[in-house]
Symmetry: C2
Subunit: 405 residues, 2 copies
């Protein structure tokens, strides 16, 4: 790993067990960690303009290379001054490599596949052909043939101009057997080298590159992958691929993998961001977490709330909210909670009004920001374990922060 | 007409020809006129929470009694402290009577019918039965039978707790013949009396009531209706019903009707809010204008702009915006124009992203607010004719204001 390159510097300010409070310094400003990363999948965080995301306190958002590659395309974005210019975002940007979406198509077409559910695919999915060279697939927009290789991914991410690029990897699904996963992980390592070589020759000195540890649920493969990625000149390390069939296995795989990574690396847990999983990751020393769930839930009328029994979900599409004068979450500082009650937000959501999606997106992103901000403060105060316990017992982040001190 | 009742006071601060700059004082604060009234049809202005509408400078919004009657229903809204409490709006509220939507169903099911296009209906539309007593129709939600009469409309509007209620009228379509329109207008006058009688006995002393002048395109009927409504104890007067088959006829009907109304009355032109029509109404001494167009256009990717040849419409769904670095409208103070360009907003709109609807709603409502705010200033400065001429020639409201001084 590269430490303190010009393109990225990671500073650990406080530790509490394995958890740490740090700062990732990028070309577009610092990111206080632990941090949740909202998804700006196709160039916007659902329903919010960029300035509003910054106002919520976020310093880092994630753009999806696959989607942006398909439309509007890297040339159009580059002509606007990169993704920062195109979407008017002044903070830090991370882009994934496109691998997750491409291989999700190959391995059954759904993200759930990676998480242990869904159909099994294989190296020759009906829509994607994977070779040593890269992945060939058809555009979901117009059926045209597209090709992403490690070099193409890095080239597209260079055009997007993200502060942090992720290397092109194969995201192995849960249903892949050990042999497939082993072969795939080795190929991912060869792709890592090709990504770094492309970047060394053509990349911007302002763009950092994170490697990705694969290896599925297999300890020896994870260990080998962690070592291989750690030895490469990357600026940070992400954990990708399947983490098992259920939460218990996920925690096991993470507990086994996280200590294999170098202490000094900023660590990104890919695609995980539910309340308990995120706190579990922080406890293991992971720093940043991206996840579609908080914004996706909003579309379905589900607000985050301090209720572990309901997986922190308040379903406003259900009946039973008529006349309920409570805010979505008591004490929440977001506008939805300060100005409105469950009765109204539920009515709006059931009436399919855009305003409902907006209000709940803002609430859910506020909730996630509160969760990580208070986690950071707890780490600095040496009370992270008590904070985590309180949240897992059903306290809101702000109440947990009070009770943990 | 009642002048300076406790429930409403209208103050005319400046005049310029027939145009006037005034203030309508309501139980929920003052409204500077001329004013455009955004529609909060089902309890929200498309994609905006109430506080955001206030931040755009609006002091008055309109709720649709018909829609709110069908869902969520007057009882649920009353239990939340009326529509103000239910939607968290602290400014002034006007509610229509439900008549427009009910009779739009009866007369062909579309609002266009009123404007001279669409199928002809009649007294016995397939879905609505109109009698002297009121209108019986089926809920579009669950097919249940609903009934709105003058008394029911006023009762629902009392539950909604609007600052200004509109009387229940039959909104006659263009295709209705003279005889039908005459009979309908007479019935509307009898309904006016029933509305006012219900309100006298049961209404809130904080709720003002506006009468509605009907009479279609027929001068004698409009004259008779204007006189009848002006003599009733209303707090303001709205102009409703068809205004003819095209813009030319509309301007003729308005030019003939407006002078028939008492000088001291606040005057509401129902359902009209395109740029030139609104300025035409102001020139005739009309004060407030509600219209679905600015918010509806946003859903279809159309932004308001200073281009009379395109009916002030910039279609961002069209091709041709790739690489265009201009804001939607140069000099516009809205966030969409300050932070983003046509390339990005067009991309978002074509990608069906909610953010596009949001950005364009905010732009269009900013544009309408700029149009009326500068109109008011021009009236105060005695330069309204020059301001209107400049806007009709293609200047933005803010540029027209400069050139008019």
């Amino acid at each position: 790993m590269r430490v303190e390159s010009e393109r990225l510097r990671f500073e650990i300010g406080a530790r509490d067990g394995a958890a740490r409070a740090g700062t990732i310094h990028t070309a577009h400003g610092p990111i206080a960690t632990p941090a949740f990363i909202p998804l700006a999948t196709k160039g916007t965080v659902r329903g919010l303009e960029s300035a509003e995301v910054a106002e919520l306190g976020y310093e880092l958002i994630l753009g999806n290379t696959y989607h942006l590659f398909v439309s509007p395309g890297p040339d159009r974005i580059a002509a606007a001054g990169g993704l920062h210019g195109f979407i008017g975002w002044e903070g830090a940007l991370i882009t994934d490599s496109g691998g997750f979406q491409v291989f999700s198509l190959a391995h059954g077409g759904v993200a759930n596949e990676v998480k242990g559910s869904g159909r099994s695919g294989g190296e020759k999915g009906s829509e994607v052909k994977i070779t040593e060279q890269g992945a060939r697939f058809r555009s979901y927009r117009d059926g045209s043939e597209l090709f992403i290789s490690p070099e193409v991914s890095m080239q597209v991410q260079a055009a997007l101009g993200s502060d942090i690029a992720l290397v092109f990897d194969e995201c192995t699904p849960f249903h892949a057997d050990r042999e497939y996963t082993a072969r795939s992980t080795e190929r991912t390592h060869r792709w890592l080298d090709r990504c770094l070589e492309w970047h060394r020759q053509n990349g911007s000195e302002h763009q950092a590159v994170f490697g990705i540890v694969q290896g599925g649920v297999h300890e020896d493969l994870r260990r080998e992958s962690a070592q291989r990625v750690s030895e490469a000149p990357v600026d940070g390390i992400a954990i990708g691929g399947t983490l098992g069939r259920d939460k218990a296995e996920m925690h096991g795989v993470l507990a086994m993998t996280a200590p294999l990574l170098p202490e000094a690396a900023p660590k990104h847990l890919l695609g995980i961001g539910e309340v308990d999983d995120l706190l579990g990751g922080i406890a293991l020393g992971l720093d940043v977490f991206d996840c579609a769930v908080p914004t996706r839930l909003a579309r379905h009328g589900v607000a985050l709330c301090p209720n572990p029994d309901k997986r922190w979900r308040l379903d406003l599409r259900k009946s039973g909210w008529v006349g309920n004068r409570e805010p979505l979450v008591d004490g929440c500082p977001c506008p939805a909670c300060r100005h409105h009650d469950r009765d109204y937000v539920s009515y709006l959501s059931r009436a399919e009004e855009l305003t409902a999606v907006r209000l709940i997106v803002v609430h859910n992103l506020t909730y996630m920001h509160q969760l990580t901000t208070h986690a950071r403060a707890a780490i600095e105060a040496g009370t992270f374990a008590a904070y985590r316990t309180a949240v897992l017992a059903g306290a809101s982040p702000w109440d947990a922060a009070k009770s943990a001190t």
